[in-house]
Amino acid sequence: MRHRLQALATCAAFLLLPWLPALAQTYPDHPIQMIVPFPPGGVADLAGRPVAAAMEKTLKQPIVVQNRAGAGGAVGMAAAASAKPDGYTILVALSSISIIPEADKLFDRKPAYTLDQLAPIALLSADPTVLVVKSDAPWKSAKDFVEDAKKRPDTIAFASSGVYGTLHMAMAMFAAAADIKLRHVPFTGGGPALTALLGNNVQALASGPGPVAAQIKAGALRPLATWGNKRLEAFPDVPTFIELGYKDVEFYIWAGMFAPKGTPEPAMKALRDATRAAVKDPDFVETMKKLESPVTYMDAPEFQKFWDADAARLAKALVKIGRVQ
């Protein structure tokens, strides 16, 4: 019934719309598309969907989540960056958003998109990645893992969310610091990468805590270390790489919301307000807690600063890692 009324109201609004000056004041007047550049089941998707649901309450329009996966997220990010800046396309992306243009530079190719094509709306979460292996794997600790990897270089395979994706960057930073060589098997996102680990097709995975928390609790996976600067609340027994003596191995997989640059100011404001309301929404907070990915909210100005600093740090790390496949 509510739907019918809504439809009627929209219909009525629509009939009146032509008689009003162009771009009527009522943003949004039709569904908004949220691009998630990874398949369902990864960090971006797990953060994007609940926040979309919470934002719908404020915006009074459906937010349609679209997973457009591929190339470490570059496919979907490029789609969002070049979308019409009318406020009806938003993007939920991960830290890798800053890496991909840098990687394109590294290979001397035309970048899929540039960072100045996107305007930040808000930071939603920031979690350190966790190194996980199957619970029947021989390694009980990160030390075992490194020793074994040194003994047989280029045999242990790890899955990632794509070349220069977040999960690849994290692992590459660790491998460079520990001076080990691993086999890299890229997938289209964290979800398929996790499936590959569970299916024994790869032996290790750096993952955001959200997607693997349930599997760790169920005893299918074993965490060896985390990339944070302090231990994770959910896994207090798991040491950080910094504790283990790898000083520079620090990596966060953060999820932020963006819009194409040039989105009209009223629309940006409405989106920021809706996000601010959404992160306080009890349903949303509860969902994120269940996912072991506590909300870390920053509004646009603050987030922009955080993003700039993070991008600079990742660019430096990328140069150190260099060209890899």
Partner: protein
């Protein structure tokens, strides 16, 4: 077994919810309609309704879309039998004997047999799907990249071995499709391929515009301006009862068709189309009176019509168990699931039992609805075809443009449909089949990615395909099929399987 029954009970509790039931019936009705309309196949129907499912729950969305798919398998036979126009590609072979039966005054019986056969096959194969998908899903985690490579190779070879027309043609179309599938950002390396600065192409060519272009639009281009409007035969209700002999002759072809169709459906490929051809070939082969075929043999209707329905269900096995699209329609269904945040893959049955079992249960209901819909209402549906084609085809063009545009609100997609429609028209003039091209395009990214991943896993050694038993088994089957087809080609023997089944022209 008890588990299955419990799950099925859960499924029915979902499927009998009024909303789910409503969308199942709606899907079946739309499916029958698009099946009846030539040029508007299940894919166009699904793409038309895809944007509408954004606002539904994932279960209702997939129930609706799947209903269109198997509904079209029913509807497609109607026009084949009455007018010798296949409403849907899977019903091409039904034209032969179905229309011959119409000429002999047995149109009603042919329609009834087609509907009954579809119902039996549909129901049997849902049972098989129900029993087979869960064990396969638990097995599916072991399905890594090397297994995907082997499975896809097997699918391609099987497709070309079994489709009509020369094998080189089929393989050439598959290769063309594979190339189309490489357009866009390379999933592994991030390089832009064949995008020429068009940002909409970065994401690759969409399944919907390409398939609507190659199948739908090219069909209209071929048939519009045809010389004479087809004459419509209107069946009477009392003629619908098949004779005792006809029923008896149909039972075994129907059962054989179900089994064949289901097995072929599991392998990636345009299963519902191939299976109908294979079933026809088999029936002709084992019949005591093969000369009756082509002159109104009821087996030639019962077998293929059962097979294409069973294949439609069989195609859901890899989709539900592996998250692998076995053709354009499962690919769109998977995309619809992704829109709702349901990750297809080996964990689907575990994480979303209500969705999977609700879907399975709705297929039981859908098949029943379709039987009811098709027998008495066939006359009404056929009336759609009384609309002169000069009015009908502009309508279909509108639906094609609308469906393609609405999926992504993208004009580039309309251009893609236009281009592929023109190319498809040209190729079909030269007797190329478009199904392998669409299949190649869909599977291209998965194939390339799995190959790259397999080699990354093994450090560049192709030995990985020989080390893994499942992959090795499938590769041996590929080699065996290649050997068989080479032997057929070299000897050109008339007794070969392909010639026997009437697949070699």
């Amino acid at each position: 077994m008890i588990d299955t029954l419990n799950s099925l009970a859960l499924g029915f509790s979902v499927a009998l919810q009024p909303a789910v039931l409503f969308y199942a019936v709606l899907g079946c009705v739309v499916g029958t309609l698009v099946g009846v309309l030539p040029g508007l196949g299940p894919l166009a129907g699904i793409s038309l309704l895809l944007p509408l499912t954004y606002g539904l729950t994932p279960t209702t969305a997939i129930v609706l879309l799947a209903g269109i798919y198997y509904g079209a398998m029913y509807g497609g036979s109607t026009t084949s039998i009455l007018m010798r126009i296949p409403g849907e590609a899977a019903s091409v072979i039904t034209c032969v004997d179905g229309h011959a039966m119409t000429l002999k005054g047995r149109a009603g019986a042919a329609l009834a047999i087609a509907a009954l056969g579809s119902f039996v096959a549909g129901t049997l194969s849902v049972v098989a799907l129900m029993l087979l998908a869960p064990p396969l899903a638990s097995f599916a985690l072991r399905f890594g990249p090397p297994e995907y490579v082997a499975l896809l190779l097997l699918g391609f070879i099987l497709l070309s071995y079994m489709s009509s027309g020369p094998m080189v043609n089929t393989l050439a179309m598959a290769a063309l499709g594979l190339i189309l599938g490489t357009v866009g950002i390379d999933l592994l390396s991030g390089f832009h391929r064949f995008t020429y600065g068009v940002t909409d192409l970065a994401d690759g060519l969409g399944i919907v515009p390409v398939a609507v272009g190659l199948f739908g639009l090219s069909e209209i281009l071929l048939t519009a301006g045809g010389d004479t409007p087809p004459s419509v035969y209107k069946p009477k209700l009392r003629e619908l009862v098949p004779s005792r002999e006809e029923l008896k002759a149909s039972i075994s072809p129907c059962l054989r068709g179900s089994v064949l169709g289901f097995l072929i459906g599991i392998i990636p490929g345009s299963a519902h189309i191939i299976s109908s051809f294979v079933s026809y070939g088999v029936e002709k082969r084992i019949s005591k009176h093969p000369e009756r075929f082509g002159h109104g043999a009821v087996e030639g209707v019962a077998g293929p019509e059962s097979a294409n329905n069973a294949a439609a269900s069989g195609a859901f096995v890899p989709m539900l168990a592996l998250g692998l699209p076995s053709g354009p329609i499962p690919a769109v269904l998977l995309a619809a699931l992704m829109i709702h945040g349901v990750a297809p893959g080996p964990l689907l049955m575990e994480q979303h039992p209500d969705l999977v079992w609700g879907f399975i249960a709705s297929m039981y209901i859908g098949n029943l609805v379709l039987l009811i819909l098709n027998l008495p209402l066939v006359g009404i549906f056929v009336n759609v075809l009384r609309i002169p084609y000069s009015y009908l085809y502009p309508t279909i063009v509108v639906f094609c443009v609308l469906g393609v545009y609405a999926v992504n609100s993208s004009v580039v997609d309309v251009w893609i449909m236009l281009a592929t429609g023109a190319v498809g028209y040209g190729l079909r003039k030269f007797e190329f089949d478009m199904a392998p091209a669409v299949l190649g395009m869909i599977l291209s990214p998965i194939f390339e990615m799995s190959l790259g991943q397999s080699l990354a896993m093994s450090g560049g050694s192709y030995g990985i395909f020989l080390d893994r038993p499942i992959a090795l088994t499938m590769l041996i089957m590929v080699l065996a099929l290649l050997g068989l087809s080479l032997r057929d080609a070299l000897k050109r023997q008339r007794g070969g399987w392909r010639t026997g089944a009437g697949l070699d022209a």
